[in-house]
């Protein structure tokens, strides 16, 4: 047998390879994401090459410039009509450039910018060996309380890696609500989750708690994303594609010529229903809806407070964006199946978050349960399945994110010898001791509670109105009821701050640098502007409320 005959048993002669066409990428339309990811990569290089004492300034400058430039790019795209008339699908079908995507990307970028200011705050902690320090650990690899940690603190190390990590997370979040196929959705989910797991582990004080929070967040987050991935596999099996438009066509039965290889799976509703349930479960985990909320209080409490604020605001915006797109673009044909389930989840989320929050004694845990209740309110808008529902959710997310970052920024100011004084009993009489900080925090709490003339009221009103018009009247009743329950514990904190005697060994309020002041100031300004004169922003969200398909 000749050599070539033997060879042909194992291989076939290679046909001349056709040239694979290069994909067409609309770089201009993807510029916000590309700017942020590019800056994050440069940030990694800065860590490698810039001397340690300049890194903080270089990283801060780079992050702020990148986020501002990306926001300008989003505004530019919206001004050129990509949010309305020219909405389209870019990057060979992977990413949608449309109203909801641009609106949420703008929100994430602004919230990220404000959060970066709180990351960079260096005047709250007392000087460590003559060096100004931020909320992040000197050297993450050093064991807490060890000599290595002391040496790192003495040498004035700081973890400036938090800036590129935050930029990577923001980059993933920008893609997440714009993802137009399930693979992009999954990759974006991981790209923004992995940096967040790390950021959680980097607190300067209470490091054991911080590491514990990171482990919990990581294990549960990875568990949830494995479920998402299996759901994606089942949907791929059902429709033969991961593209949103194709799956939607198959769900609605609009496929004209069925490939015989696909005919069997396309008729299999079990694949569709189980797949959808698993993907939606992964997204509900990220928004922190009951019964997938168990990670929220522990992670919010253990993570460094600036990271908590960032996570609470931006993750929620991104995850709700992705959930909206999935339900409204892929699954409108299935809404009689998913609406009852989402009804149930919205009701237990609103009530569960509000009721459990009453029993909390730690301010960060309290805000965590409050964020769970807010996830329930936003879900009520998602269930509306009308254009009004989309725009009300967009508005709510924008209003909520700035209040959250502001509130957590105030939490970083109230300190005692052990760092932040987060136990509620320590907050007693804060209004007597530092009226301004207490008043600002009261504004945020009133916005969370949805009192008129704050952004919280406008957002809640928009969401409940959309839900009522979308035929979810009972949901609105439950929503108002749980708002009343939630108002109880917000008001209780206000009463505690203003109408009880300060303790002798109570905490002090640190005077922050302009960075944190800006974050808090932006929070207050947005809260009041969206509460008093919301019309412009409601119109903006209204125009942005149509998904491209």
């Amino acid at each position: 047998m000749s050599a070539s005959a033997v060879h042909s048993l194992w291989t076939t002669a290679a046909d001349p390879i056709d040239k694979i066409g290069a994909p067409k990428i609309e770089y201009g339309q993807l510029s916000p994401t590309l700017i942020v990811i590019g800056a994050a990569v440069v940030g990694v290089l800065v860590e490698a090459f810039v001397p340690r004492k300049f890194r903080y300034y270089v990283q801060l400058f780079l992050s702020v410039v990148a986020l501002a430039a990306a926001f300008a790019a989003v505004v530019g795209l919206a001004a050129r009509g990509f949010g309305t008339t020219k909405a389209q699908i870019a990057a060979m079908g992977a990413i949608a450039v449309d109203g909801p995507a641009l609106f949420l990307q703008g929100t994430i970028l602004l919230a990220g910018l404000v959060a970066i200011f709180t990351f960079a705050e260096r005047r709250l902690d007392p000087l460590a060996h003559g060096n100004r320090v931020d909320s992040f650990v000197a050297q993450a690899g050093a064991v807490p309380g060890s000599e290595g940690e002391q040496a790192a603190t003495k040498a004035g190390f700081t973890t400036t890696e938090v800036f590129p990590l935050a930029l990577f997370a923001i980059g993933g979040m920008l893609v997440f609500p714009a993802a137009n196929d399930l693979l992009t959705l999954f990759i974006a989910l991981e790209v923004f989750s992995l940096p967040l797991y790390l950021l959680c582990a980097l607190a300067r004080r209470k490091r054991l708690m911080s590491q514990e929070a990171a482990v919990k967040y990581f294990l549960l987050g990875a568990f949830a994303s494995a479920f998402t991935l299996f759901g994606i596999a089942l949907l791929y099996g059902y429709a033969g594609s991961v593209s949103y438009a194709t799956i939607a066509d198959v769900v609605e039965g609009n496929v004209s010529t069925v490939d015989p290889a696909l005919a069997e799976t396309m008729g299999n509703d079990a694949l569709l229903l189980i797949g959808v349930a698993m993907v939606v479960m992964g997204l509900l985990f990220k928004v922190g809806a009951v019964p997938f909320h168990m990670w929220t209080p522990d992670v919010y409490q253990g993570a460094p407070t600036p990271v908590t604020g960032f996570m609470a605001a931006a993750t929620k915006v991104a995850a709700f964006g992705a959930l909206l797109r999935l339900l409204y673009v892929v699954l409108p044909g299935l809404r009689w199946d998913w609406r009852p389930v989402m009804w149930g989840i919205a009701i237990i989320t609103m009530l569960g978050g509000a009721i459990v929050a009453i029993t909390q004694t730690d301010i960060k845990r309290l805000l965590a349960y409050s964020s769970i209740a807010h996830a329930g309110f936003i879900l009520a808008g998602v269930i509306a399945t009308t254009p009004d529902g989309v725009s009300s959710v967009l508005f709510y997310l924008a209003a909520y994110s700035f209040v959250t970052i502001g509130a957590f920024a105030v939490v970083t100011l109230v300190r005692d010898a052990g760092g932040e004084a987060t136990h509620l009993s320590k907050w007693a009489g804060l209004g007597r001791r530092s009226p301004l900080v207490a008043a600002v925090f009261a504004v945020f709490l009133l916005a969370f509670a949805g009192i008129p003339l704050t952004s919280g009221f406008t957002g809640k009103f928009a969401v409940f109105k959309a839900a009522a018009e979308g035929g979810a009247g009972a949901l609105v009743v439950v929503g108002v009821l749980s708002s009343a329950i939630a108002a109880f514990f917000y008001i209780r904190v206000i009463v505690l701050m203003f109408f009880s005697e300060p303790k002798a060994d109570g905490p002090t309020v640190a005077v922050p640098s302009p960075l944190t002041m800006t974050a808090i100031g932006v929070g207050v300004a947005v809260t009041l502007v969206l509460g008093v004169a919301p019309q412009y922003f409601l119109d903006l969200a209204g125009q942005a409320g149509v998904f491209v398909r």
């Binding site: 807490p144 693979l183 991935l229 299996f230 994606i232 099996g237 594609s241 799976t265």
Partner: protein
């Protein structure tokens, strides 16, 4: 062999992984069970790819492998730092924040 059998195997592996996450106490073992779940997803992707005669599923399996590798890097870093400060990787011991 009928490719549907591979789907049953994938579902079985996924269920074993999920059960392991819920009942095992060592963080490393929990993490290995999550990796098993991701690999079960890969098997499902490849089996569906074979059934449909298109390559998307196989390409997605590569993406999943890269994601799993990135997750190992981040996850082991976090778990090892927890182990070094507590001399235990038990997920039951990590209960500082329990009420």
């Amino acid at each position: 062999m009928n490719p549907v059998n591979y789907l049953y195997l994938a579902a079985l592996l996924f269920a074993i992984g999920a059960t392991g996450v819920l009942i095992r106490r060592n963080a490393i073992v929990v993490f290995m069970c999550i990796e098993l779940m991701l690999n079960a997803c890969n098997l499902a992707f490849v089996a569906f790819s074979r059934m449909h005669g298109n390559l998307d599923g196989q390409i997605i399996a590569f993406f999943t492998m890269v994601v799993a590798a990135a997750e190992v890097v981040v996850g082991l870093a976090i778990i090892v730092s927890l182990f070094r400060s507590r001399h235990s990787a038990s997920v039951d011991d990590a209960s500082l924040m329990k009420l």
